[in-house]
C-alpha cells in the first residue's frame, strides 16, 4: 500500500521538529561540555593545590620525590593494570574496526542484490560517526 502524501502542515511540523531537536542538541552539547571540562579543571586545580602546598618549603626535585615516595609498589601494579587495560581496549577497538572495514563492502554488495533500495546507516567505512554528523 502506498503511503499517504504528507500535507504542507505536516511537512512544516517535521521541519519544526528537526529544527527544535537541533537546537536542543546544541544546548545539550554546551551543558555536557561544561560539566566535563569544569570537572576536569576542578580536579586539575585541586591537584595543583596539593603540589603547590609543598612549594616554598622544598625544591621541585623534593616535590617529585615526595610524590613518588608515596606510591607503593602495589599501587604501581594497579596503575600498570589500569593503563594496560586501556591500551588493550584501544587495540581491540582498532581490530574490530578493521574487521568492519574488511567485511562491510561484501555485506553491502550481497544485500543490495536482494534489496536494491537498501538504505545505509551513514557511518564511515570503519563504523565511526561521519564527520558531517558530528
Amino acid at each position: 500500500m502506498a503511503a499517504k502524501k504528507p500535507t504542507r502542515a505536516e511537512l512544516e511540523a517535521e521541519v519544526r521538529l528537526l529544527k527544535r531537536q537541533k537546537n536542543a542538541g546544541a544546548i545539550a552539547t554546551v551543558l555536557i561540555n561544561l560539566i566535563r571540562w569544569s570537572g576536569l579543571t576542578l580536579i586539575a586545580y585541586f591537584a595543583y593545590l596539593t603540589v603547590a602546598s609543598l612549594s616554598g618549603e622544598t625544591t621541585t626535585a623534593d616535590i617529585g620525590i615526595k610524590l613518588f615516595a608515596d606510591v607503593r609498589l602495589s599501587e604501581v601494579f594497579a596503575y600498570l593494570f589500569g593503563g594496560g587495560g586501556v591500551i588493550y581496549g584501544a587495540r581491540q577497538r582498532s581490530l574490530r574496526r578493521n574487521t568492519i572495514e574488511r567485511l562491510q563492502g561484501r555485506i553491502k554488495k550481497l544485500e543490495k542484490e536482494r534489496d536494491p533500495g537498501r538504505t545505509s546507516s551513514g557511518l564511515t567505512q570503519r563504523g565511526a560517526t561521519h564527520p558531517k554528523d558530528q
Partner: protein, 186 residues
C-alpha cells in the same frame, strides 16, 4: 587526597567521559546493526516485502538511530523532550507512530509480532545506552541499581523496563526520537 589520587581521579574522568562513552556508542551501534540484520533476514525469508512501509520505516529509524547515536544521552533526551513537547497537534511523532501502527496492521500476526519486537528492542537499547552513559544517573547510583537488577533478575528487570517504556509519556518521547531519526535518515 594526595596528588597521585587527584591524577587518578583525572584519568578516571577521561576514562568515563571519552573512552567508556565511545565504547558504549560502539556497543549501541553494534546491537542496532544486529537488529537491522534481523529485520533484513525477516524480509529475506519473504515474511515481509522489502518495499513494505513497515520495513522501510523501521529500517530508516534504525539507520537514523545508528547515524545519530552519538547524540543520545540523558541531558540530550531531556532537552529534546523540553524543546519539542509544545509542538502543534500535527506533531510528526504522532503521525509517525500512527503510520507505523497502520503499516504493521497490514502484516500477518507472526510478522507483526516480529517487527514490533524489533522496534521495542530498539527502544530498550536506547534506554540502556542512556542509563549507562549518564553521569547524572551514575553519580546518583541509579545506574548501579539498574545494573545490579539486570544482573540478578535480568528477565524481570527487562520486562519492567519494557513496561516503563510503553507508558504514554515515555512512549511519546521515544516516538519523537524515532520520528526524528526516521526523518534524518530519509
Amino acid at each position: 587526597m594526595t596528588p597521585i589520587g587527584w591524577i587518578g581521579l583525572f584519568l578516571l574522568c577521561i576514562l568515563f567521559f571519552w573512552l567508556y562513552r565511545d565504547y558504549r556508542l560502539d556497543l549501541l551501534r553494534q546491537n542496532l546493526f544486529a537488529l537491522r540484520d534481523e529485520l533484513f533476514d525477516l524480509a529475506d525469508e519473504d515474511k515481509l516485502n522489502f518495499e513494505h512501509r513497515a520495513y522501510g520505516m523501521l529500517r530508516s529509524t534504525i539507520n537514523g538511530t545508528i547515524q545519530y547515536g552519538h547524540n543520545l544521552g540523558f541531558i540530550e533526551l531531556m532537552s529534546m523532550f523540553i524543546a519539542t513537547r509544545r509542538l502543534a497537534t500535527e506533531h510528526p511523532a504522532k503521525r509517525y507512530s500512527q503510520r507505523f501502527r497502520e503499516a504493521c496492521s497490514e502484516l500477518d500476526e507472526e510478522t507483526q509480532r516480529a517487527v514490533t519486537s524489533i522496534h521495542a528492542r530498539m527502544h530498550l537499547l536506547i534506554a540502556e545506552h542512556v542509563i549507562f552513559t549518564s553521569f547524572t544517573l551514575m553519580v546518583t547510583l541509579v545506574t548501579l541499581f539498574i545494573a545490579a537488577l539486570l544482573f540478578v533478575v535480568k528477565d524481570a528487570a527487562l520486562a519492567r523496563l519494557q513496561r516503563l517504556l510503553a507508558r504514554p509519556r515515555v512512549e511519546a518521547v521515544l516516538s519523537a526520537l524515532d520520528s526524528a531519526a526516521c526523518l534524518k535518515a530519509t
